[in-house]
Symmetry: D3
Subunit: 247 residues, 6 copies
């Protein structure tokens, strides 16, 4: 079976990463996964949410938005509605949780890494691409903190990347593009760490519930995709990869 | 290993269901799962969201809220903040998706079943309890529509119930109470249909990523829990169960 | 003349009080007045509004909400509209003022008792029932503060209870249920203290203005109702009634 | 006993009325009650709230605001907070109800009279002054509708005016100015119709509950004040008074 | 060519200024420019915006609103919409910038002069009238601060006044009234200081772009108007004019 | 005098235009003016604002936003504050007015061209760059409407472009970058049409008012800049330039 963009069912799309996209941000990347394009940045703030004050512990959080014409049909700016919608909030929370799972928040100290993910063009998989890209800028921002000796321990515990899997036309597909996504019976987003474990597993039967066997196959395919994305992350980090230096 | 409330790891809490809790609602239930107590109602609205107008298709949606002192520490009313928070929106969307997966929306016609889930007391598992309880009131509302001949086909395709599983103290637990939930390393919510398939799978590693083997065991335990809950649903519906009559 | 529920014109509905409804709240009650059912809780907050900071004086305030299907026709959640409506704000302010009238705010010290009134089922008289029920939880919260020696003087000066009166079909009625309320020409809510004085008098001619004589009769009937409610409050408090112990 | 402005306890302040203050409004008045100054206007809108559509019945509603420096200490504009506060909403609802009590809404037809009350200077009694002034502009707007034959029956059933009474320093006072109001133990607002009946009775014990005897004396004093205000209204209307012409 | 109100093209409307309109405000004025009427007040706040904290520098800011019936067709209150509109925000920012240009913010110290401009009646030119009137109350507020020795240097550097010019029916007009304004091809607002320099120049071609020559003529006419307004300001200030005393 | 980026005082920055940046938008451009980078798109909506319904006339409007890290110090997303700020609203209104001045709204018919301007990187002059870029996408969207025969007349009357001028260090500069902008005494934004006339003139003295002579020189420099920008627009449009074909 051929996919709309000619890929095989178990193939991820081409990734392009431009690091240090902005001259001033603590971490910034232009990230492309096929025709899905986004800008991710990391901002260090010397404060933490109320519930962490005085605990000595840091925080990682994320904001996500889409440019109005990033999608075929224009999406309204959320500021015009006056608040972030449910989908946006879900994605923001997912990105934040995923990143926190691989950060030593005690070593970060009482500061926040605020990740901004702005989708320039959306062709499916924006939330998983945002996680994979966010790892890059998180890494850069932490490196700056560590090298400027603001923190004495590099707080990154592992890699993190994410990919979508799904079932469309009864075929299990890796990394769905928009056209595949809207016709999929099942849509899963899998976030995994560098040691091959699960951080988040989110699967939704859009119309037809899925069996244990289908779930198992999707998880396997996702694992393959994440492993490939982490190889790409490592390659893009190159010599700036403090994790490899540590080990 | 004994749990805080004396249950075995693979045991769900005691369920109590009072049907037709309100005299006027199209469906209403007082639902208890251990010390988690909630009121679920179904309201039939003769309109659909904008994107469904003219399609002949219906909709099922949900709203969720907690009473301020349903939790040990008072939670602020969301109206005082001016908007529903991210957690609330996630839960509302989850309930809606879960129910839509087992409803024939074409047979429902252009009307909306609005499910209200109000948590009177929260002791963990409110979102999964809300789904299990929502099925009851959805069923009653659809039965009223069908018996009053507003719709000519009973639109329910299957049962749906949900349960939480997790890993706490390296033990895999079914149906976590609040105390277990806050100390869990992994927290999963599983929504399944009556034929034993998955509708939603949502697993989050709070701190430590989980392995494929752990995931597999959690899914198995969830399946057991959901099967027991569906038995309870059937028993509570009794002779009002149009699905059994059909088959 | 017989009323819809068989009562005599000067009769209040049956009251049911379950104290300590919640295991964790500083005060909590399940309160029924006929088919009007509500949950009232008291939360102690170690802070006061801006205008009281540094005065040594405390505050009592209230929040009020109705569950969506507490009424025959579903009421929209105020959070979906984004703000509390005018009726809700009026009721919240009324409850707060009524309670503050019988509390020694200096003896309370710089802390706030926040009363939550959530209507589970509404059959008329929710605002007056909320005041009568709030007294119970206020009393319990203050007792806890006093017995744990956070405050050295018990700050309750008197009882407070409230009841509605009105004119429907030219008959003066005590404690109107919903059906009576919507057809009433005049609707009054009376809040009184234990010594038989008025704290709030609010009367509204829905259509036909009322005479001085009618007003006088309504006030008399209200006084009877309040006196009976205070007897019920005393009985429910039993030996936890610090006011009786003091005298 | 002399009052701060030299009045006797049972005296109202000097009233000044400039009719047709705006060249374009359907009704408009500059109204002074002592140093309380406000602008009231009436706007006719050819629509009714949702719940009245198709009933053939009209509506009267009101909006109220204070200029920021109308009070000694500047009050924040409500738009800066993003919503109307509880006090404003109470007053708006009170003005609307008071006016509707003397209007034949069927004769008005499916249109709305929107009353705007903007307080230019506040020296106590703004809500009662707003009601008394609103009657004037309501009358003018209805006259225009009637004389232009938009409506065939003049829909005003009676006069309406309002006044405050209260107890300060154990003296019962009529028409409290700001200085008296803030030190008053009891604060009442009474709305009455031209036939001497009550439309609204709102009394609040700020600190000390009040007795039946005190209530009775306050009501008597209020009646005197309202009667005098209606004489002033009649005089200001002069030959434009369609009610007198009818009788 | 005669204008609608009989003025010559280069004539400003009649100005009326009532100083100290409010008994309590630090500066207040009733200001009329023809039929455009507004109330301006100045309030001194002992705080500055976040970005100025610790700089020793003060701030001048403005809020602007229109009474609902100040215009022929009622304008909705912005609080009912929930936020200030774009036009209001533009005007507020313009007034603030214009005043700050002639205030020595260092000499003011860390405090804010908050200017309120409320339009009672609008007949064109409200924003420029608001600037001219605001100067008066700013002057009074600063005088009070200076004379009470809160500040040791009088912080006003120059006068400021503003006027509108425009092109209607191919004639260049000074100080447009509402009727002229709505039919104008070009609309300019010019803010100038007492030494004849420009503080703000804002010109908009409503339909037809304007030439350099037309721009030059409009600027010349505006200069004439501002010079006349400053003469009126000086005359209204009289002996309270600390700037003249200084020189 | 050399500028921070080596330009001469009367030189504009290098412009880069990528047309048809998005595959689906009716008009879209990636636009760079030095280090100021933005994405502009045009969306055709078959509806007009309320006040134009039934007039047969179209509308052009704009929305503007900055990505959070487009600036050296992160700017908060306006949706997190809940509304668009004053600066954003001013810019949106300016872009809309500027474009409407060169569009024949009758020929457009009852539809809206919605322009989205999203600043990817901000180095001064974003609002003028947005206008210059918006012209490109407006042109493309109108061309599509015209060529698909939705409209029978090409509604563009002229070119429009905008540039900033200012005075910094007593030198008059064309097209200020961010560093120049923040230190400028005077900041002007000039919008001109292809025939060399003014559409908008907005000049602000940040601290020191400016003379008529300085104003005149700034206007001359702006004219030079706009003329160069229009040459660049023409070159980028090339053979898609329906205006040239018409003449």
């Amino acid at each position: 079976m051929k996919r709309v963009d000619g890929r095989k069912p178990n193939e991820i799309r081409k990734v392009k990463i431009i690091r240090d996209y902005y001259p001033h941000a603590e971490g910034s990347v232009w990230f492309e996964l096929g025709d899905t394009k986004l800008i991710c940045t990391a901002t260090v703030e010397e404060k933490v949410p109320q519930f962490l004050k005085g605990t000595g512990q840091g925080w990682v959080t994320a904001e996500y938005a889409m440019l109005p014409r990033s999608t075929p049909v224009r999406v309204a700016r959320e500021v015009m509605i006056g608040k972030t919608g449910g989908r946006t909030q879900e994605i923001q929370r997912l990105i934040g949780r995923s990143l926190r799972a691989i950060v030593n928040l005690e070593a970060l100290g009482e500061r926040t890494i605020l990740i901004d993910c702005d989708v320039v063009q959306a062709d499916g998989g924006t939330r998983t691409a945002a996680i994979t890209a966010s790892f890059m800028v998180l890494c850069d921002a932490l490196k700056r903190l560590y090298e400027s000796e603001v923190i004495s321990e590099f707080p990154l515990k592992d890699y993190v990347a994410a990919v979508s899997v799904g079932i469309a036309d009864n075929t299990i597909l890796l990394d769905l593009c928009y056209e595949e996504d809207i016709s999929a019976q099942v849509d899963m987003n899998i976030v995994m760490s560098g040691d091959g474990k699960f951080i988040e597993v989110q699967g939704t039967a859009e119309k037809t519930p899925f069996s244990k066997d289908e779930l198992s196959k999707m998880l396997g395919l996702a694992e393959k995709g994440v492993r490939e994305l982490i190889v790409i992350q490592k390659s893009a980090l190159g010599k700036d990869n403090l994790m490899e230096k540590q080990s």
